[in-house]
């Protein structure tokens, strides 16, 4: 029984189903990566896990609880953090305000979390009075991840965190993600840069047309010939 498990998800937009019974699970302290070709339903699966898409069938469970019917906001309250792919920062607000918004729902003292986030992303401490919209792409992604961490989530979900950033920035981001994992948070992410992502992943899912095609450890998927040929470009 995994910490977060979304089983046999069926659903989509309008009439047609994009997800056709896929299952995704993640444990605490584990990085799980979803890869697959364009249109496989990777981002849709993420949205479904986070409750931004109504499922026709299947269930999502977090810990002991069934959260299938909860709203995204409620899931945030239950300890899920989500970093969308686009528009994932408040660009007219300062970095500090972005982090405050991340902690919006928290009624306890979150200064400790803030310290942790600043230790993880030192550049943000430096730029905390700058508007997030003025930062570079990589820094914006850091703000986005940091904002999600401010909720002190047990599960962090990232939708293509490295889209549009340079390879150096990507490596740096992945390093940070590993550090976050090491604090015991469960990490679920969708990635276009499949090979690099699988390299840091504990487990991976290869999604094709809304169904699980392969599920294995990241290393095993990287070594799997068929996965390499079909999805990792050789």
């Amino acid at each position: 029984m995994s910490f977060l498990i979304a089983e046999n998800m069926v659903g989509g937009y309008g009439g047609s189903d994009i997800l056709k019974g896929c299952t995704i699970a993640v444990e605490k302290g584990e990085i799980v990566v979803i890869v697959g070709p364009n249109g496989a339903g990777k981002s849709t699966a993420m949205k479904a896990v986070f409750g931004m898409l109504d499922l026709r069938e299947g269930s999502v469970r977090l810990g002991e609880d069934d959260i299938t019917t909860l709203s995204p906001q409620e899931r945030v309250r239950r300890g899920m953090g989500f970093v969308p792919q686009n528009n994932n920062v408040f660009s007219t607000m300062t970095v500090m305000e972005n982090l405050e918004m991340g902690a919006y729902l928290r009624e306890d003292d979150w200064s400790e979390t803030l310290d942790q986030v600043f230790t993880l992303f030192p550049i943000l401490k430096e730029k905390r009075q700058q508007d997030a919209g003025e930062l570079s792409g990589g820094q914006r992604q850091q703000v986005a991840v940091a904002r999600a961490l401010m909720t002190r989530p047990q599960v962090l979900m990232l939708d293509e965190p490295t889209a549009g950033v340079s390879p150096i920035v990507m490596d740096e981001l992945f390093d940070r993600i590993i550090e976050i994992r090491n604090t015991g948070i469960a990490i679920l992410m969708v990635e276009q840069n499949a090979a690099q992502a699988l390299a840091i992943a504990d487990r991976g899912y290869v999604l094709v047309t809304g169904e699980n095609r392969f599920s294995d450890s990241g290393q095993a998927l990287l070594e799997n010939d068929e996965v390499r040929r079909s999805f990792l470009g050789g």
Partner: protein
């Protein structure tokens, strides 16, 4: 030397002081429009009539107070009536939101549907105001008329030109500064204000952060209604109250909001002053001013007025068009609707 001073005083008296007051009134109106736009994402055509409604309540309460002999001279009695007007404006705004706009929000209708709905609200408010107080001019100012009088100023300075500052003008600026400071403090420093800014900036992410959209919409109406009441009352004290004039204020107010960058509070303020100063400077007759500065034979015969005051609206509009063509996001990079 005296001539230059006279020229400056003349310009201050007829251009700078009136434009400052008018600009502050427009800025307060435009702030309301821009906040509704930022949160509810539509251009509220009923804003002018909301101002008229709120001012009407203030006037009625003022009359009652005047009859009862309650006043705070030298300040106008309307200031005591202001809170009642604000409450009434908030009440009717929340009521229309509940009855009209909420439905379209839940349906996620296109902005243009909201605009059409606001036209319906505009008609109804206009009707209510005219039924209750009538379509005519109403005056409700009392207390001292002037803070500085022309004769006093001449005595002090010994200049030929006089400077008058009306109480309503001084009051406008004072109240506007307080209102704007309070608004910015709220938006920048409080949790609710930050939630509003976040919602206006990125609705989806704000929802993900746990911002309650109903609260944000509630605050937006409360703020817009408060500002509308203040703006309407100050305008009424400074000039006069007439329902149709308030409806017509919609155009310069929209111009101010868009020129500054719609959805940007700071932009609305700057936009208000840009529009007001353009209107006043372009429609002012400069003949007398030039006579002080130039030899008489150099000064042209006419009034040296760029545009007749009848074309005030044209000026807001031209500024609007120029901004839309040159920099569609406005001075402060607002949202493009």
């Amino acid at each position: 030397m005296d001539d230059i001073l006279n020229a400056i005083v003349l310009l201050t008296n007829f251009v700078i002081v009136p434009a400052l007051a008018y600009g502050a009134q427009l800025a307060l109106g435009a702030l309301g429009v821009t906040i509704i736009f930022g949160i509810l994402r539509f251009a509220n055509f009923a804003h002018g009539d909301l101002m008229a409604f709120a001012t009407m309540v203030v006037i009625l309460v003022t009359w009652v107070l005047q009859d009862a002999g309650i006043g705070i001279a030298p300040l106008p009695t309307a200031l005591i009536a202001l809170p009642v007007g604000i409450l009434a404006a908030i009440a009717i705004s929340l009521f229309t939101d509940r009855c009209v706009y909420r439905f379209y929000r839940q349906k996620k209708s296109a902005p243009v549907i909201f605009v059409i709905a606001s036209i319906g609200v505009m008609f109804m408010m206009n009707g209510i105001v005219r039924v209750i107080i009538g379509p005519d001019d109403q005056s409700f100012g009392d207390g001292a008329r002037f803070l500085i009088q022309v004769t006093q100023f001449r005595e002090w300075t010994g200049l030929k030109e006089g400077l008058a500052i009306k109480m309503s003008q001084a009051l406008t600026l004072g109240v506007a500064v307080i209102a704007v400071a309070a608004l910015f403090w709220f938006m920048q420093r409080t949790r609710a204000g930050k939630a509003m800014r976040a919602y206006s900036d990125n609705e989806d992410l704000a929802l993900l952060s746990g911002v309650n959209p109903d609260r944000v919409v509630f605050y937006a109406w409360v703020i817009a209604a408060t500002l509308a009441t203040i703006a309407g009352t100050l305008y009424g004290l400074d000039k006069s109250f007439k329902p149709f004039t308030y409806f017509q204020l919609l155009l310069p107010i929209f111009a101010a909001a868009i020129v500054g960058g719609i959805g940007q509070p700071l932009g609305a303020i700057v936009g208000g002053f840009i529009v007001a100063f353009s209107e006043v400077t372009i429609t002012y007759a400069y003949r007398k001013f030039l006579l002080y500065l130039l030899p008489a034979e150099w000064v042209p015969d006419g009034l040296v007025q760029f545009l007749s005051t009848d074309y005030k609206f044209a000026i807001s509009f031209v500024i609007l068009v120029v901004v839309l063509l040159v920099r569609p996001t406005g001075v402060f990079r607002g949202k493009v609707i």
